[in-house]
Amino acid sequence: MDRDEEVLEAPYRLEYTYQRSTGPVIGRFLGALRDARLEGVRTASGSVMVPPLEYDADGAATGEPTVVGPGGVVTTWAWVTEPRREHPLPHPFAWALVRLDGADSAMLHAVDAGSIDAMRTGMRVVPRWQDERTGSIRDLACFVPESAAAAAAAAAAAAAASAAAAGDDRPPVTMFPSPVALDYTVTAGRHLSAYLRALAERRIVGGRCPVCTKVYLPPRGACPTCGVPADAPVEVADHGVVTTFCIIRIPFDAAPFPPPYASVAVLLEGADMPIFHLLRGIPPEEVRMGMRVRAVWVADDQLGPTLASIRWFEPTGEPDAPHDQIARHL
């Protein structure tokens, strides 16, 4: 078991569908962006901070908003030849810190310069606005090198936005969508892979701790009591005893069956740790601690490296196990 191909892997996406509250200072800035306008705030020391924060680096609350830009100066930059999917532009572009006219700090954004040769520290840039603006830092599509045409386009966009804003009854920006979506390729590791592969063969394989001799299911990289790998393979029976259970009575999206149904912890014969699964074939009110149960496997052509190869457990009908047999495993 030391070749990588024996380790199972699978794609996995982590997503959080957060909305984020802005507070009054950031909300006002994002609202101004929606109107194709750049604003900073005045700090207690009299400098102008862009983009604005609630407090300056000394911890003093910032004050009145003040219009800045629309043009500014590049204070540092970096050239991206292969943009990532989440970058603001799909073709090569520069990241830059831009100190807008009237501001004392610089803001980060993209510069659509066409070529690295068009970039230099100290160059002047003007904004290019999105046509559809929602109250986001990305309402500012990017900056572009200042030219008569670019300046005129920026001024026209600002004038149009200002005219539109005059009759605007949109509420201030207080929230914005802030979704997170990250893609992973999860790997099961050697021990879990061995366990999962066995399930595809209707076998259940645990791992024995060489020190305390407990059999863990699945095998694991460390026995939590002894601190050594609990990975000596041990075949475990596909029948055992219910140690504890609960009855699900409330329906939910991912429920495997219409409620009520029983979710059980089963101590398989030969293992020291129970596994969690479903119990069918008995009315929920008759499920008991100590019941003897056996696995119901899926059909051969549905077997796979997953615990879902066991559809559920069902009672064997044998007499219940005495409590002291499960007491140590609760």
Partner: protein, 348 residues
């Protein structure tokens, strides 16, 4: 300052173990990364798990995309019967700082610190974007290499370094001829591939001991000073060409007063950052910097900083160094910095 220092307990790094970092470790899950390094660090310290008074780890759940993954990884330290444990969602160097503070209370004498990072499962640039301000930076999707490139340009523009100086650092850490390195294309200009860290999976562990528990060891690496400082998150409000936080941490850790420094292990994932850090720490040309290769050679996230402390201590353990400086960083463009001064002498 001197009065408060006098009340401090003497604490030393007494052992250090690491897994050789690799690009992609599919065989080990988090527990399996932690278990071998913890076992090795304890064995080296001559301690058992039951001897440890406090355990603390550093890791980041976003790296493997599993909330509370550090709880699973705890199996690797054998937490049953229950142990006194803590965790920081940061590099393990900050876990070591917490352990050092914990040992100052005087009721426990040993602490185990470990860190693990498995960047290979996800898209590391996208994961690191998650640490940025969610209003102004993260929605732009700017990645860690791009942020570092902005800092590198600012340093070049300041006239204090050239692209050649960056290549000299890269060649010293990872080999290659400077002229050949400079002939390679930019990754994110002005950074070339050799200026940027590799993506690595890895883990390491350190044992701290206080007072007599440390004196039992042949050559403990005594922590003579340790401090960490953070700068504002907003890049446009910082001087990216200087590491003020490192300079202040160095002053409080006593870098200037320890005497001749033999070795410095600096957590500089990008070549230009090593130049900024050397400057901030006031290191002379006589100091051996990053003999381990540093983060330009292996950069397991959440591990590489603690590794710098471990590597510096190991040089004292084996007698190659008398005084050492170790540094760890966190956040974009050296936002947060920790400096630790280590010595073979418990006090001057």
């Amino acid at each position: 300052m001197s009065a408060s220092r006098a009340r401090r307990r003497d604490v030393a790094i007494v052992s250090f173990a690491q897994l050789p970092p690799v690009r992609r470790d599919t065989a080990r899950d988090e527990t399996e990364l932690v278990q071998p390094v913890v076992t090795a660090a304890l064995r080296q310290a001559g301690l058992t798990r039951q001897d440890i008074g406090f355990t603390v780890s550093g890791s980041c759940d976003y790296l493997i995309g599993r909330p509370f993954s550090f709880v699973t990884a705890l199996d690797g330290v054998a937490p049953w019967p229950p142990i006194a444990e803590s965790h920081v969602e940061m590099d393990g160097a900050w876990a070591l700082y917490e352990a050092w503070v914990r040992l100052q209370q005087g009721d426990v004498d040993t602490a185990l610190i470990y860190a693990y990072g498995k960047s290979s499962l996800g898209d590391l640039p996208a994961v690191l974007t998650m640490q940025l301000d969610p209003y102004y930076l993260a929605p732009l999707g700017i990645d860690a290499v791009s942020l570092a490139a902005l800092q590198a340009r600012a340093l070049l523009d300041s006239g204090r370094a050239t692209e050649r100086d960056l290549a000299v650092v890269a060649a010293a850490r990872r080999g290659g001829a400077v002229a050949e390195l400079l002939a390679t294309p930019y990754l994110v200009a002005p950074l070339r591939r050799h200026d940027c860290p590799p993506i690595s999976d890895g883990a390491c562990a350190v044992v701290l001991a206080a007072g007599d528990a440390a004196r039992r060891h042949a050559r403990p690496a005594w922590i003579r000073g340790i401090d960490h400082r953070v700068e504002p998150h907003q890049l446009g409000s910082r001087d990216l060409t200087r590491s003020t936080s490192t300079a202040i941490a160095a002053e409080h850790a006593g870098v200037a007063t320890i005497g001749p420094i033999d070795v410095a292990e600096l957590h500089a994932p990008f070549s230009h950052q090593e130049l900024i850090l050397r400057d901030a720490l006031g290191l002379g040309a006589e100091v051996a910097v990053n003999p381990s290769g540093g983060a330009l050679v292996a950069n397991p996230m959440m591990v590489a900083g603690l590794t710098r402390l471990g590597e510096a201590a190991a040089r004292i353990h084996d007698g190659r160094a008398r005084n050492a400086v170790a540094h760890a960083t966190s956040g974009p463009c050296l936002q947060q910095n920790l400096v630790c001064v280590l010595s073979s002498e418990v006090a001057s």
